[in-house]
Assembly symmetry: C2
Homo-oligomer: 206 residues x 2
DNA sequence: CAAATAATATTGACGTTGTAAAGTTTCCTA
DNA sequence: TAGGAAACTTTACAACGTCAATATTATTTG
């Protein structure tokens, strides 16, 4: 028996929105973006073909809800991984591990979260959850000041640097753009220079 | 007169494959991935709806050809930007500028190039052009040894580090994930620590 | 040069999809 | 308990990817 299907044959599902998102995520990771359709989601949870429209409006609405959920989860995962009592570098390392772990565990959703036109960029839920994710990255970007000595935009640059790096690594990893012979035993922490607490200033020869 | 359309009404187009790719790129950047269809491409160049199948097999084939072209162009753009006589840091900076310039100029194609399931990962042309792009990054990753002192995998790590960073920056930029108030005047070079030739060793407190 | 064959393009059709409109059932509140 | 809102279904339609069959042109070969 499929326990994704509503347990009793009621006219109202009761929790259709969440059930559809859950089904959509399974379809997306299993069959890729072309394997995800509103009709398949509806069928998976046992409702009519057009029922999803009541909760998401259109397909972009569903994809946006999925992406918003992803941002919430990646923020949660990072937060839970951060030890209470640890150095800045240790806290940052655990957060980065959580970030990459989410991307590796939900590669298709992760790609969706950073797509340009498939999700509704102005959705309030999405914006709020993106912000929550960014807040965690802000928190663990402390201690990178050595990269930008005496820079008035030191915080913004540290945050942009950290997110750029970890996002790039996560997506190149999940998109299989790293050559396997180079990847032997190398993970995100091995190539992140900010693992150190004591960063020396860089002499800029530009 | 639309000079994308074949000039004379011949049965054989003559250069349909390239014309379709060109039309597809225009549609992709203008209307996003949902605005790109084989039928619209065919109509744009004045052939029947199913003519693209002869050159690409299916839609994934067209998307793959587009992505392959993108990798060739980004490698070309980087190469052309690199000065002949310059320091390693200068050469790297110009290459990174070219990389980000391509992504900013072709955001939808850039996203497609790093997608997981929309393009055919085993396509020989794609693999070759990805390799060519990577080779340029390998070339300009020299001089980053200070990040990984006495590491036997120093080359691989430098390359993974550089690509992770610049790809992450490029996509976060094109996906509008950076807050505008933080972006004021900050570009990829401002937040890349590797701009210096003289990198000091990092003390690792792990 | 002519015939055969490959390459290229068209027509027609089919199943799937997103979505809109209208109707039905259930829930909730006043 | 009546009435309206919310949730769901049914029906329908245009656009899409793709397949099969056919037609036209280009190229090779005898």
């Amino acid at each position: 028996m499929n326990y994704e299907v509503k347990d009793t044959a009621r006219y109202h599902h009761g929790n259709l929105r969440d059930a559809l998102i859950k089904a959509a995520r399974v379809l997306l990771e299993a069959d890729g973006h072309s394997g995800l359709s509103l009709r398949k989601c509806a069928e998976a949870v046992g409702v009519s073909q057009t029922a999803p429209q009541n909760h998401f409006g259109n397909k972009a609405g569903l994809l946006t809800a999925m992406a918003a959920e992803g941002y919430a989860e990646i923020a949660d995962l990072m937060t839970k991984k951060i030890p209470d009592r640890a150095t800045l570098a240790q806290r940052r390392e655990r957060a980065l591990q959580g970030y990459v772990e989410f991307a590796a565990g939900n590669p298709a959703l992760y790609e969706l979260m950073f797509s340009r036109n498939r999700i509704l960029a102005d959705d309030p839920d999405l914006l709020r959850n993106v912000g929550a994710c960014f807040e965690v990255l802000v928190e663990v970007s402390k201690g990178l000041e050595g990269f930008f000595p005496d820079d008035p935009k030191i915080d913004a640059k540290s945050q942009m640097y950290l997110w750029s790096f970890v996002h790039g690594y996560a997506q190149l990893l999940t998109a299989n753009r790293f050559k396997k012979e180079d990847m032997q035993g190398v993970d995100v922490l091995d190539i992140f220079p900010g693992s150190s607490n004591e960063l020396c200033c860089l002499t800029d020869d530009r």
